[in-house]
């Protein structure tokens, strides 16, 4: 620790301070980082709220007239997405013009016809021009079908016929997902977006600190200072990563703050992310922020111009999103320990677990972070070699 302190008080500290000043005084880069960091949690929140609003709008209202002639009908029809109001009387056209999507009228001779095993009538009134009519009719038919099947079976039994003859099999749908699983599914895109925040937030700074510095001809005086090239790359990496990492932390914090606005109960989730959760996620993102920064710097240093560097890094920033989505959709079991050693995949899995309140293996986190940091060190050494390239100084 003392060694690090002394090291930071020396030339390396001055270099790091210079890189941090340059990075944090770039208003455009800062604005991009903050905007993306706040925008995506807001969008996730908005999308979730909207999704549940649409779901509640899918409810249909049914007016049932003549229910006294078929007492159990109202009880059988009512349920999720179909609200049934029993009315003593009413004009179907007026009811449809009001708050009802559908009017179901039980025929006056229904009871007598039913008793005599006739075919009593149920009248369904609908406004065919209404966009909700089709949905309401489908919901009503879905509810009536099992009721009708039940009556048929009872009649067959009454005549000594086994009802199974008419139904060789019966299909039952059973949803085995738990509420937490449904929540996980909805929040599955969040870790990938959090990781993408690192790329987006540090892009401008990475380009500026490498291709930009080369183009402004300020790299040469820096390379003439008595500092080994790896320290130059390390200082730039730390400065670039600082922006990406803090934007990531801001995103996590914003997401946590916005969680109460989301329909967590409908998602079957508790507010899983607390302050300690935010800090844990921040720590998990730190090695990845360093890796993203050094990769961005290397790509930008190897580019022909400032614009070329911007283009390369713009492509790079969407690459992890597609990669993680592709892996998610594949049959690969990403939660296995070996996969968690891979940068991006490991962080995605840990973030996913922490977001819904699951625990993560400390060993997996440590091992995965060590692998990520080893890659950072390797890329810093590659970057130090790149700084010795003659083409970098426009010498060729």
């Amino acid at each position: 620790m003392r060694m690090v302190r002394q090291w930071l008080r020396g030339p390396m500290g001055a270099l790091l301070y210079k890189e941090l000043l340059e990075a944090w005084r770039d208003k455009r880069a800062l604005l991009t980082a903050v905007t993306f960091a706040l925008l995506f949690p807001a969008m996730i929140t908005g999308a979730t709220v909207f999704m549940f609003k649409v779901k509640s709008e899918n409810e249909s209202r049914l007016a049932l007239i003549g229910a006294e002639r078929l007492p159990l009908l109202a009880q059988q029809l009512a349920g999720e997405q179909l609200l049934v109001d029993v009315l003593e009387a009413g004009e179907p056209a007026e009811l449809l013009a009001g708050e009802y999507d559908l009017v179901l009228q039980v025929g006056e001779d229904f009871a007598s016809e039913y008793r005599q095993f006739g075919v009593p009538r149920l009248y369904v009134y609908m406004d065919g021009a209404s966009k909700d009519a089709g949905r309401a009719r489908r919901q009503l038919q879905e509810r009536l079908a099992p009721l009708q099947q039940q009556v048929v079976q009872q009649r067959l039994v009454a005549r000594g016929v086994a009802p199974q003859l008419l139904a060789p099999w019966r299909m039952e749908m059973r949803d085995i997902s738990t509420p937490s699983d449904r929540g996980k599914m909805i929040l599955a895109s969040v870790p990938a977006l959090l990781i993408m925040t690192l790329f987006v937030a540090s892009l401008a700074t990475a380009v500026d600190a490498s291709a930009g510095e080369r183009e402004r001809l300020s790299l040469e005086p820096l390379l003439l200072q008595p500092l080994p090239p790896w320290q130059v790359v390390l200082a730039k990496t730390l400065a670039v990563a600082s922006l990406g990492w803090l934007a990531g932390l801001l995103s996590v914090s914003a997401l946590t703050a916005l969680m109460p606005l989301m329909p967590m109960a409908e998602l079957g989730m508790q507010q899983a992310t607390s302050l300690s959760g935010v800090l844990a996620m921040g720590l998990l993102l730190l090695p990845l922020a360093l890796l993203v920064a050094v990769v961005q710097l290397l790509l930008a240093l190897g580019s022909k111009s400032f614009k070329d560097a911007q283009m390369r890094l713009s492509i790079l920033q969407v690459a992890p999103l597609f990669l993680l989505m592709a892996l998610d959709m594949s049959q690969v079991q990403l939660d296995r320990p070996a996969w968690q050693l891979l940068p991006l995949v490991g962080q995605q899995q840990w973030l996913k677990a922490l977001l819904v309140g699951d625990s993560v293996s400390l060993f997996a986190v440590l091992a995965g972070s060590v692998v990520t940091l080893a890659l950072v060190a390797a890329f810093i050494l590659i970057g130090a070699r790149a700084l010795r390239r003659e083409s970098l100084l426009g010498a060729t």
């Binding site: 030339p11 210079k18 005084r25 402004r216 390379l223 003439l224 008595p226």
Partner: protein
């Protein structure tokens, strides 16, 4: 002293320096003359440790540049031919950070900053960020950066290019003052009057080779010319080129 021995360098198979050797003694101003593409900038970049030579040896103050480039950089101040500044830093921040990168701290740092501030008349610029600085102002800040750690050796690549009269005068005055203080100075230039005014010794380069080495008066006598410009043309391109140009004139 700066010693260059049998230096060779080529870019993409094209030789830029061909067996270049010379010595620059301490406490004197040496001018490096040569046409564009003669290899001056490449030579100065190898001396400052920015580029590696393909063959040969460079020593600055007795230290081999290839073996210990960091030690050499502590003894060197370099002003390149085209230099950018950090536009988000003020002049004070810029010079402080570069002085700290050279290892200066505390009272040494303050003394050095005060020194370059007054010597190079940076008072008005001190608190300003460098965005929008004129060419002359940029040169003053670059020179201050190269001098802030009081280097033994100073290398300047075409330092007066694009400078107005006042800035060029200030630069020349500063170089003469540094020479009096014992600093070894090497600069490349295309301005013959400046070379004549400043330099104790002139090195003439052509196509990566040294074609002339001596005091300005001695070189003129050697070439049989009465001015440095003719001397340079004669040495760099040959007597025939000089005759051809005189005929055209």
């Amino acid at each position: 002293m700066i010693e260059v021995k049998s230096l060779r360098k080529q870019f993409a198979g094209r030789p830029v320096l061909r067996d270049l050797s010379f010595e620059i003694p301490d406490g004197r101003i040496t001018a490096l003359l040569g046409a564009n593409g003669a290899g001056k900038t490449t030579c100065l970049r190898i001396v400052s440790g920015l580029l590696n030579a393909d063959a040969g040896e460079v020593r600055v103050g007795g230290i081999d540049v290839a073996r210990d480039p960091l030690a050499v950089r502590r003894q060197l101040g370099v002003v390149g031919d085209r230099e950018g500044l950090y536009e988000r830093l003020s002049v004070e921040e810029y010079l402080t950070l570069f002085a700290q990168m050279q290892g200066l701290r505390g009272s040494d740092l303050s003394r050095s900053l005060d020194g370059v501030r007054s010597e190079l008349e940076l008072g008005d610029l001190w608190d300003r960020r460098t965005v929008g600085f004129s060419q002359g102002e940029r040169m003053k800040v670059s020179l201050a950066r190269a001098l802030v750690h009081r280097p033994q050796h100073l290398i300047l690549d075409e330092p007066t290019r694009g400078l107005d009269v006042l800035a060029a005068r200030l630069l020349r005055r500063t170089l003469l003052r540094l020479k009096e203080a014992g600093t070894t100075i090497v600069f490349s230039s295309h301005v013959m009057s400046e070379v004549l005014e400043l330099s104790d010794r002139v090195l003439v380069m052509a196509e990566g080779r040294l074609v002339g080495d001596g005091e300005p008066a001695a070189l003129m006598a050697q070439a049989g010319c009465d001015n440095l410009e003719d001397t340079f043309v004669s040495l760099a391109y040959g007597q025939s080129k000089l005759t051809e140009q005189e005929a055209l004139a």
